[in-house]
């Protein structure tokens, strides 16, 4: 622990700006993954252990689309849309058959999908890592705000993720579909009895969840390496965010993702070598005080 370094950082605007920006970008990308995870759990009460696979495949699809078109926008779109479609397929072909089953059966199905697609990625893209490369438009020097470093690419990513959060939040609270999704999360039988086609609704939820994870994988493509099995590490952090935020709460996922991002950003200064441990301590602390998570319903 290095409290002197942490104290010095908090009193230096340059350090605060740099570390806060780094925390924001980590948090925002994590939010996109966790939002889908928590949405699926909120409506279907299913823990999608295959969610990391959506993130991985989104990255790989974007990688190929970028190589083919040289357009980052198209690559991101391709990653998100492909994973939305894959989400529908995954829900219809596999998950719909294990609704109401033992959680171990659901876990087994998800884990099988993880292993199968890790191998498919190896066959299609090769076992070695891949990197998309930074689009020419973002190959620019970083901005210096109050002496702190803010990369333009990250500023754009934070903006896109924030926009998605707002659209998702408004969509769930203001639109008919959003209201139906929220109602289904509370009482799916009643929603079905009122004439809503829950089969389509559940597929849509998986499409949104998969699309968000694919979007995160695609957005991070220019700076993160792609490798088979890469979805696993992001899945663990996605679960931490979901649990801290409250299972099923989008707003909770947003706050928790930012908490994790900022703990990472400043923890690396004050607690070098213990940043991961610090994240779990924060999680334990929050769960002791609020067992249902920050925004979850009481257990």
């Amino acid at each position: 622990m290095d409290f002197n370094a942490l104290g010095a950082c908090f009193t230096t605007p340059a350090c605060v700006v740099t570390q806060a920006t780094s925390g924001l970008i980590v948090g925002m990308l994590l939010f996109l993954v966790a939002a889908g995870l928590t949405l699926i759990f909120g409506v279907l009460k299913i823990v999608n252990f295959a969610h990391g696979t959506f993130y991985m495949l989104g990255g790989y699809v974007a990688y190929s689309a970028y190589a083919a078109t040289d357009s980052y926008a198209l690559a991101v779109l391709a990653g998100a849309v492909a994973m939305a479609l894959f989400g529908v397929l995954f829900e219809r072909v596999l998950m719909s058959r294990v609704y109401g089953s033992n959680v171990l059966m659901q876990l087994l199905v998800c884990y099988a999908v993880v292993l199968i697609f890790d191998d498919i990625v190896k066959i299609v893209w090769g076992p070695e890592f891949r990197a998309m490369g930074m689009p020419a438009a973002f190959q620019v020097p970083p901005l210096f705000i109050a002496g702190g470093v803010v990369p333009p690419f990250y500023a754009v990513l934070i903006g896109i993720a924030a926009l998605i959060a707002i659209v998702l939040s408004l969509g769930l609270s203001r639109t008919r579909l959003g209201k139906t999704v929220r109602a289904a999360a509370v009482n799916p039988q009643m929603v079905s009895a009122l004439g809503v086609n829950t089969t389509v609704l559940f597929a849509i939820v998986f499409a949104i969840g998969g699309g968000l994870a694919g979007l995160a994988g695609a957005l991070a493509g220019p700076v993160r390496s792609l490798s088979p099995g890469m979805g696993f590490s992001i899945l663990i952090e996605g679960f931490i965010v979901t649990v801290i935020g409250g299972m099923g709460s989008i707003a909770g996922a947003m706050v928790a993702a930012l908490v994790i991002g900022l703990v990472r950003g400043f923890g690396t200064i004050g607690f070098p070598g213990f940043t991961d441990g610090l994240i779990y301590i924060v999680m334990i602390g929050i769960l002791v005080l609020r067992p249902q998570g920050l925004f979850g319903r009481p257990l």
Binding site: C9, A14, C15, T18, Q19, T21, S22, G23, I25, V26, L29, D119, K122, P127, E128, F129, R130, A131, M132, G133, M134, F138, Q139, P141, P142, V149, P151, F153, Y154, A220, P222, V223, R224, S225, L226, S227, P228, G229, M230, S233, I234, R264, G265, G267, T268, I269, P272, G273, T275, D276
Partner: protein, 411 residues
């Protein structure tokens, strides 16, 4: 061919099969099976696949030249996933069940130590081709009579790298350094080894911050910003493969390479190919380069590999190729496949090699290779990627390695 199958044809075919069967069986039995185990799946599968690719080229070459002692060779590949327990099990299985008479252990260090212990019970020769941890062969307690290493050794690279970086740092007046290496045994031990030698050659070195990201960590942002905050003049990193590629791409976003000099011994062709915007001026070792040693033989080998696999070789590729060159020479000399006899032939053996600093590589008495090419230079964004390469001084490496072994009570 068409027409009904008559009773006569059937009988003729059956007789031919009966007559030929023993010959086919004998031919199969006569094939010399060589076991190879490595990480062939997962994020660092490149270690295993680029080793396997190289061995398959060697298999074709050796068979075309008549095989070993007149027997055609055939590799039996196994994926241990890099797990020590599985590696130990696979090594036994390759010898006891698959009938392999020689072993190539292409595991990373953690699993190689497990294989090394298994080798104490098996009377077959084994060459470790990818483990760089010095103690595997340097520590007499760990060394095994029939097991050898044909690979870089950590202490050799640490001496060579420290000497180069000390000269570089003195010329550029750089004494404030940061380190950033993976948070496991290799990263921590090897960084300590580099710093030990580095401080010996440049006593005024000050390490202003250290970062230990997890292996396979997807995001290095907070590590990069921490390094920038510490304002070092230079950064030494042991990140490798996908982690190094991600670090460079994320470092580019923060213009890290304009704010400090970066030095790494782990740049390899796959990393160079994956990093789309390789910064110029990274001080880098040559893991494998077609242009170092700058000889026709090395270039020819690199291009033949590319032609066969449509990708460029790695450091692990040349090491596996040289392992087969050593087996070839030792078996010819020993005229036997017995583990102890091959071991005697391998000890002290010197072979001509495209990867030798002076065109030769020697298997020293302590079962590890010396004389392989080690160089440091600086990166440029395009092929050949590393230029101004200065070859390491092997006299100095051995002198300091001997001192180090005494400190460790290895000799």
């Amino acid at each position: 061919m068409s027409g009904p199958v008559t009773r006569r044809t059937l009988l003729a075919g059956g007789t031919a099969t009966l007559v030929a069967a023993p010959w086919v069986a004998r031919a199969q039995a006569n094939t010399l099976r060589i076991g190879m185990q490595s990480i062939l799946s997962g994020p660092i599968a490149l270690l295993g696949t680029s080793s396997r690719n190289s061995l398959l080229i060697e298999q074709d070459r050796i068979n075309a030249a008549g095989g070993f002692l007149g027997r055609q060779i055939e590799f039996v590949f196994r994926d241990s996933k890099g797990q020590p327990q599985e590696a130990a099990r696979v090594a036994r299985e390759l010898v006891n069940t698959a009938g392999c008479e020689l072993l190539v252990d292409a595991e990373a260090s953690s699993a190689s130590f497990a294989v090394q212990e298994v080798m104490r019970d098996l009377n077959v020769a084994c060459i470790h081709t990818n483990s760089e941890t010095s103690s595997l062969t340097a520590d007499p307690k760990i060394r095994v009579p029939t097991a050898f290493r044909v690979a870089r050794q950590g202490v050799h690279d640490a001496v060579a790298g420290s000497l180069y970086l000390a000269d570089f740092a003195n010329a550029k007046k750089i004494n404030k350094w940061a380190t950033c290496s993976p948070d496991y045994a290799y990263g921590r031990d090897t960084t300590a080894q580099y710093l030990q030698f580095f401080k010996k050659f440049k006593p005024d070195v000050e390490v202003v911050t250290e970062a230990w990201p997890k292996l396979g960590q997807p995001d290095f942002t907070e590590v990069i910003t921490k390094l920038i905050q510490a304002k070092p003049q230079a950064l030494f990193t042991l990140l490798y493969a996908g982690d190094l590629s991600a670090f460079v791409n994320q470092g580019n976003v923060y213009a890290l390479f304009g704010q400090m000099t970066v030095a790494t011994p782990n740049v390899d062709y796959p990393v160079l190919a994956a990093i789309k915007n390789l910064p110029a001026g990274i001080q880098s070792a040559t893991r494998y380069l077609e242009t170092f040693p700058d000889t026709p033989a090395n270039k020819e080998w690199g291009q033949a590999y590319f032609k066969r696999w449509n990708e460029r070789p790695t450091n692990w590729s040349w090491q596996n190729s040289v392992a087969m060159h050593f087996y070839e020479a030792a078996i010819k000399k020993a005229n036997s496949l017995d583990g102890k006899v091959i071991a005697a032939a391998l000890t002290g053996l010197k072979i001509n090699s495209p990867f030798g600093a002076d065109g030769t590589i020697t298997m020293r008495d302590d079962h590890t290779t010396i004389g392989y090419a080690i160089g440091w230079g600086q990166t440029i964004p395009k092929d050949p990627f590393i230029t101004d390469i200065k070859p390491a001084d092997w006299g100095k490496i051995i002198e300091l390695e001997t001192e180090w072994k005494k400190q460790q009570n290895y000799s």
